[in-house]
Symmetry: C2
Subunit: 267 residues, 2 copies
C-alpha cells in the first residue's frame, strides 16, 4: 500500500510527458477525480482526436511462414499533418492533405485512458463503470510483479485512406462527408465520457458509504466484544444491556468486497 502511494506521489510530481504537455480539457475533471483517490493513478490519457497522418511508403512484408526473431513491429514514422481534440472542419483537413507527399490517412480515435490501480478490486470497479459507459474494449493487465493497469478503450473508430503518394483519391464532397461522420463520432465520444465521469462519481460515493458503514459496524462489534469480555471477567451476565446489532445495510457490500478479494481462491 505504502509503496503504491510513494510511487504515485513521485509520478504525479513529474512533468506531463505527452506531446501536448497537459491533460486534454474535456477529461481534466475525470483525471483529477481519479488522481485524488487513493486507489488510482492515471498514467496516460487522450480525450479523443481527429488526425490526418502521413505514412511513409510501406516496406515489403516478409512472406508468411518466414522465421521471425521476436515481434517485428512495422514501426512507421508517421507525420501528423493535423490533430484536433475538438470538432474539425473540412478546411483544416484539406489544408492538411495538401501538405502530403506520401499516403495520407484520416482517422478518428476515441477516448483512451490508462490507470494504474492499487488493488484488483479498484481495477474491477473502474472496469465495470467503463464497460457500462460504452467503452467496451476496456481491460485489465496484471503484470508479473503485480502491477495492475486498467485501460479504458473503445471500438468506436474511423480510418479512411484519402491520399496516395500525395494525390487526393476522393472528391472534396467525400472529404466533407467523412469529416461529418468523424464529428458525429466525436460527439458520441463526448457523451460517453460524460456518462463515464458521472457513473464513476456515483460508484466511488457508494464505495465510500459502504466502507464507512462497514467501519462503523466493526467499531460497534469491537465495542461489544470488549463489553462482553469485561462482563465475563467480572462474572456478570447483563443480558438486558446487550446491544442489539440491528440490520446491517453495509453487510451486502461487505460480501461483495469479500468476493472481489477472493477472486483467486475460487475454483
Amino acid at each position: 500500500m505504502a509503496d503504491f502511494e510513494r510511487w504515485k506521489a513521485q509520478r504525479l510530481s513529474r512533468a506531463d510527458g505527452s506531446r501536448k504537455g497537459s491533460v486534454d480539457e474535456p477529461i481534466e475533471g475525470l483525471v483529477r477525480l481519479l488522481n485524488g483517490r487513493e486507489g488510482f493513478c492515471t498514467t496516460s490519457s487522450c480525450s479523443g482526436r481527429v488526425v490526418v497522418l502521413e505514412q511513409p511508403p510501406q516496406p515489403r512484408p516478409p512472406p508468411r511462414g518466414q522465421a521471425t526473431t521476436g515481434f517485428e513491429v512495422q514501426k512507421q514514422n508517421c507525420t501528423w499533418l493535423m490533430v484536433t481534440h475538438q470538432i474539425c472542419t473540412i478546411e483544416d483537413v484539406l489544408t492538411a492533405l495538401q501538405k502530403a507527399k506520401e499516403d495520407a490517412v484520416f482517422k478518428f480515435e476515441p477516448f483512451v485512458l490508462h490507470v494504474q490501480c492499487r488493488e484488483l478490486q479498484d481495477a474491477q470497479l473502474l472496469h465495470t463503470v467503463a464497460i457500462e459507459a460504452g467503452f467496451r474494449n476496456s481491460g485489465i493487465t496484471v503484470g508479473r510483479k503485480g502491477k495492475i493497469i486498467m485501460a479504458v478503450r473503445s471500438t468506436h473508430c474511423l480510418e479512411v485512406p484519402l491520399s496516395q503518394k500525395g494525390k487526393l483519391m476522393v472528391s472534396e464532397e467525400y472529404v466533407d462527408f467523412v469529416v461529418r461522420v468523424a464529428n458525429q463520432k466525436m460527439e458520441e465520444n463526448r457523451r460517453r465520457i460524460d456518462r463515464f465521469y458521472s457513473s464513476l462519481q456515483i460508484a466511488l460515493e457508494n464505495k465510500d458509504q459502504s466502507s464507512s458503514l462497514l467501519f462503523e459496524e466493526k467499531e460497534k462489534s469491537n465495542a461489544m466484544d470488549s463489553y462482553r469480555r469485561k462482563g465475563k471477567a467480572k462474572g456478570t451476565a447483563n443480558k438486558d444491556r446487550c446491544l442489539s446489532p440491528g440490520k446491517h445495510p453495509g453487510f451486502e457490500s461487505d460480501n461483495e468486497t469479500q468476493s472481489n478479494i477472493n477472486v483467486l481462491q475460487e475454483a
Copy 2:
C-alpha cells in the same frame, strides 16, 4: 478447479453459437490448442474479416448533458452486404455496394479471441503472448464472482464510409485502393496470428517443463525429508549419504509462478 472443468466440458459440448456455426479455418489449430489445455476455454473468436455493412439512418442523438438512464446503446440493425475471412476482390465489394439503399461502410476487423481462464496466471501467460505478437489492445476482465476472461484484441482496423443513402460517394478506383489496403491489413493480421500461435506453443511447453521439473524437485525433497526423519528416529547421522540438491533450472519459474499468485497480497 473442478467447477471450471465441469463448466468447460458443458460449454464445449454445446453447438457453436456463431452465425457461421464453426471456428474460422485460420485459427482452428489455435482454438484446439487452447481448449486442449486445462486452464483455458475459448468462448468466442473471429480470425479477422472484411465486411460491407449497411447502416440504418442515424437517430438524432440526445443533447449533451441530458440525463440518461443507464447506458444508451445506439444499437443499430446493420445488414451484412458482404463478409469474408479471406482476401477480398473489388468485384465482391462493388456488388455488395450496389445492394445498399442506406449508408454503407467498408470495414476491416482484425483477429479477436475471448478465452475464459481457470486462474489469473493462465490469463497473464496468454496476455503476455498476445501483446508480444502484436495484439496490443488485449486485456483481462475479472468479474465479481471470479470469472476471468482474456480478450485478444488489436488496434489494426479500417472503417471507410462508401455510400450515403445508397449512392456511392467515391470512384471505383478508390474502392480498388481501399480493397488493397484492407487486403494488406488482412495479410499482416494472418502473420500476427501465426506469431501468436507459435509463441503460445513455446510458452505452454516451457510452462509444462517448469511444472515437471518442479514436481521432480518436490518428489526429491519429500524423499529427503522422509529419509532424514527416519535417520533421526533411528538416531543415525548419515552425512555422507545426503543427496545434493544440485542446481534447480525450475527454481526461477517457481518464483515467477509465486509472484503471479501473490498478485493480490502485494502492497
